[in-house]
Amino acid sequence: MFNNFDGKVVLDNLHFLIEGMQTTLLLTVVAIIGGLLLGTLLALARLSPFKTLSFVAGTYVNFFRSMPLILVIFWFYFLVPHILGRPVGGFYSVLVAFVLFEAAYYCEIMRAGIQSVRQGQIYAGQALGLTYQQNMRYVVLPQAFRNMIPILMTQAIILFQDTSLVYVVGIKDFLVSADLVANRENRILEMFTTVAIVYFVICLSGSLFIRRLQEKFNL
């Protein structure tokens, strides 16, 4: 039980764990930025009047959304070196997997956000003589973005949790670093409990922050 719980092992390997957490955060941030950019393009494509474009974007989104993330990670871990013809290291393959996978989810959030702006607003803009670009820039997108903020941030927390799945290809993120220490020092109980607590604290603070934001700005 907890009576032989040895917290010292965590402190001794703190440096190693922090390095792992940096990898986790790097992966999260790059995946968010890449996913958002690609996701926005996909959302615009999905809402565009060109049938082919919206069909292609729709297929992309449905394709990635029906696959488990682990399978996507395996796919790109295998595929990227094959396409480039040389080994690039697991980290970059996994990064590609995350950006492409998350883009599908961000696309759906963006699309819902844009569609959440009421049609009347667009008509009002047109009645005022705004051009399409002006209407988008000053009327639709500011409101859409405001509506999307909480969901975008929730998705970021989910993504942060999902990065732990890089375990399956052995990228040294937070969880894998802890796992290595746990096996080396034979301290499974301490290490995994610590990992769980760290993830819990970060994610809970994140979601409480989002809730506060929602109440304050009445999002």
Binding site: M1, F2, F63, S66, M67, P68, L69, I70, L71, F74, W75, F78, L79, H82, I83, G85, P150, I151, T154, Q161, D162, S164, L165, Y167, V168, L175, D179, I188, L189, F192, T193, V195, A196, Y199, F200, C203, L204, S207
Partner: protein, 240 residues
């Protein structure tokens, strides 16, 4: 890109058998976990809408606890840490004694995790009905339990069919996380075929197609169900 295509590997033994057994495990794990997630999630979700402070607080703690730890970490906690916390005999039984320890652990872990998400949907469904119906029920002399049974729940479940469908698809995809504790489901088998034959492209394509087929069938089926159970004039709502 030079690659030796060999689609035949998928129908050769033992690889075909690996894929079928993997697919079976995916289905079995998902369904078992779903039964647990749906029943427990309903109870927790209902608790979050009751008038009792204590019940509400317990349910909120449950949801926050299970939602804010990555599924993979939870899998490890149940598989590696939980048996250590039990008295020695019970711990040994959980590790090796109980039937199919990996499968049982994976299904329970996935079920408990998804229950927190189902609970949020159930709560959103009940809350979207509004206080008026609850008050009307109470005013007619129904007990709180009867209000839930005859007034709130029948409507709430019909409203949350679409979000529950996507939760089911999530559990189905998340069942792949079970491979980390040694359940050889579809994704694990595809990976294993890649490692044995180097035909990764074929193996992963097979797994992808299997996932897409099941997703499509579930979506078609649920679109039909949605049409049958939707409440006229009501737009279905889901929690986010």
């Amino acid at each position: 890109m030079n690659y030796n295509w060999d689609w035949g590997v998928l129908v050769r033994e033992p690889y075909l058998e690996w894929l079928t057994s993997g697919f079976t495990w995916t289905i079995v794990v998902s369904l078992t976990a779903w039964v647990l997630a749906f029943s427990l999630g309903s109870v927790i979700g209902i608790m979050r809408t009751t008038n009792s402070n204590l019940l509400r607080r317990i349910a909120t703690c449950y949801v926050e606890l299970f939602r804010n730890i990555p599924l993979l970490v939870q899998m490890f906690l149940w598989y590696f840490v939980f048996p250590e916390l039990l008295p020695q005999d019970a711990g040994m039984w959980v590790k090796r004694g109980m039937p199919m320890p990996e499968f049982t652990t994976a299904a329970i872990c996935l079920g408990l995790y998804t229950a927190s998400r189902v609970a949020e949907q159930v709560r959103a469904g009940i809350n979207s009905i509004g206080q008026g119906q609850r008050n009307a029920g109470l005013a007619m002399g129904l007990t709180p339990a009867q209000v839930y049974r005859y007034v709130l729940l029948p409507v709430a479940y019909r409203i949350i069919v679409p979000p529950l469908t996507s939760e089911f698809l999530t559990i189905f995809k998340n069942s792949s996380v079970a491979l980390t504790i040694g359940v050889l489901e579809t994704t694990a088998q595809a990976r294993q075929i890649e490692e044995y034959t180097f035909q990764g492209f074929e193996a992963f394509t097979a797994a992808t197609v299997l996932y897409i087929i099941v997703t499509s069938i579930v979506m078609l089926l649920m679109r039909f169900v949605e049409g049958r159970v939707s409440i006229p004039g009501m737009i279905s709502l889901g929690a986010k």
